[in-house]
Symmetry: C2
Subunit: 351 residues, 2 copies
């Protein structure tokens, strides 16, 4: 399942100030009904020779991460694979749980990691390709403080046209050891999330956007390996104030609320069927501002449920009506974000 494109290539020695980034694994199908990533890795394999010439310092492999769920056209068979890479699931419960996905997570950790242990993971970067049913455009999701990923995402987002081109950087601040996602298995990880596209469907335009974001991301890594000073100059020309505009989770203000998410109630008879619908005034309006009192949901009687201000009086909605979030194991609800800026030098949020 792992296909190496340039295993014989010699990595270019990095300048002393930066660690080498050599082995990159591009992953599709972590959620089995997100077809775009699977198409993109198949297409990448087909142009392996071209890829090896284009980015000679990188050893790029591809991987179909959840083949069983993919063949069944389901997000997952038993449990969400992208929640299986916590210390609890990988180490403490090792051998105790036997879902399709917990077993696959053990395999992937051996193949790409290990995430927890004395030795360093075998993989420098995991690029995990995802799709969303929401109008999120190209979202490059990276960890706060991971300077390599922040810079690579900032480069790719700019080359994709930035916010006007519907390309944005999203940061989260969960430390690597606490992140349960597949991309946390490598030294560095990024998720590229593109939409809107239905689950179990391939759209040509969404495939092209995913390819574009991925190609610029890999181009950055190649340029960085060759000449870090030169690529720093490029980034500074894109972001003259050395700050990258990003979105990050909004903290919950109301007690009992989850940070970063406005949860919706579910049908008492069917836990994956919502009891309310996202109101049409916010459908497809990801990254738009919503104020306390604005329409948020509508119920079976047609009653409109307004935004309560739970995450602040004015917030930005993201992942508005994401099909994957109909599963409580994936976290039901609408994402809530605030605008922020991240320093190009530290990778940390600045005011």
């Amino acid at each position: 399942l792992v296909f190496s494109m340039a295993s014989a290539s010699t990595p270019v020695g990095p300048p002393p100030e930066c660690h080498p980034i050599h082995k990159v694994v591009v992953v599709g199908g972590t959620h089995g009904n997100e077809y775009t990533g699977v198409w993109c890795i198949k297409a990448l394999m087909k142009r392996a020779d071209e890829v090896a010439k284009l980015w000679p310092s990188l050893d790029i492999e591809t991987l179909l991460s959840n083949p069983e769920a993919h063949k069944a056209n389901r997000r997952f068979i038993d449990t969400d694979l992208n929640r299986e890479f916590s210390e609890k699931r990988l180490v403490e419960e090792k051998g105790m749980n036997s879902t399709v996905e917990s077993q696959r997570a053990q395999e992937l950790d051996k193949l790409l990691g290990p995430k927890f242990g004395v030795e360093q993971p075998q993989t420098d970067v995991i690029v995990d390709l995802h799709t969303t049913t929401t109008n999120m455009g190209i979202s490059l999701i990276v960890p706060e403080g991971d300077i390599e990923m922040i810079q690579a995402a900032a480069y790719s987002a700019f080359k994709c046209g930035g916010e006007e081109g519907e390309a944005r950087v999203l940061v989260h601040s969960i430390p690597r050891n606490h992140r349960p996602g597949l991309s946390s298995v490598a030294r560095h990880g990024i998720s590229i999330e593109v939409g809107p596209v239905p689950q179990g469907v391939l759209r040509h335009d969404i495939v092209e956007k995913t390819d574009r974001a991925l190609n610029f991301f890999l181009e950055y890594l190649e340029l960085r390996n060759k000449d870090k000073a030169a690529v720093d100059n490029i980034l500074e020309s894109y972001y003259p104030e050395k700050k990258v505009p990003v979105y990050r989770s909004a903290k919950a203000r109301a007690p009992g609320e989850m940070s970063g998410k406005i949860q919706w109630p579910c049908d008492p008879e069917n836990p994956i069927f919502p009891a309310v619908i996202v109101h049409k005034s916010i459908q497809d309006r990801d990254f738009h501002k919503i104020k306390k009192g604005d329409p948020l949901f509508v119920d079976l009687d047609g009653n409109v449920i307004p935004y309560s201000g739970s995450h602040g009086d004015e917030v930005y909605l993201i992942f508005v009506n994401e099909g994957g979030y109909y599963y409580s194991s994936s976290g039901t609800g609408i994402g809530v974000a605030v605008k922020a800026q991240v320093s190009l030098n530290s990778g940390m949020t600045v005011e």
Copy 2:
């Protein structure tokens, strides 16, 4: 699972020239991951008292047709329920096949039919609510020659704004005994198919469109039961030439091709994963004309595959990139149609 809203209501005696239409069953969830219909029947149940007053001549029931597939958020568990109502499946193979859906089909035939047998089916009309991932707007799908359904669909399509309001009548000419769909179990059947909406997702706008089409359809039946001559006058004011514009399947011209569908090849390793993508120039362009030589698909190498003229030099594409049609058991491919007209008097296609 069948909820009756007006079982005690007295049907208005029909004028002598037309049969009464009394018992109407509105069905959702025939495909378990099409959520809109399920929402609409739940909402309809909640306003049962209002509905009984609004349309007193109708005895309206609602039904969740494939509860197991719905709870699993899958099109079907074993086989497509909407292909189970053929004589072969219902009668010849009775007791011999034991898929979840073949058993459910037997139950539904008992509850709503029987479709085959000496006695008349218990249900006058089945309205089966479907969704599509494609940009089909509101499609009212009715059998050629079923004058009651043609007229009701023509009324609803006009009230929804006609082609400008993205509401269209689609006719097929398969005789009732040969149709495998659930709506063929009753004396009359219609499918209301609305999109675009991803599978397993509820969209407020799509729910509203479905409700609107359903309400106008039921309004027509009520008006018809009360005063057929008056409703004939209304229809003639909508369609002064007594002809309803419709779309119908295009016949295959090339040998070995399927009528009404341009099939796509699938991945050799995964029969539900296409080997080509619908080209971006036709994505979301349902009911647009395509000419021989126009781009149709794109493959993994990026090669564009043009339309071969297999169904005529100029045809209209419908169900362009429908997620349900990724399943070979549901018929992989893109729909192909031609424009036609149906007589308001005979329900038959006229030149």
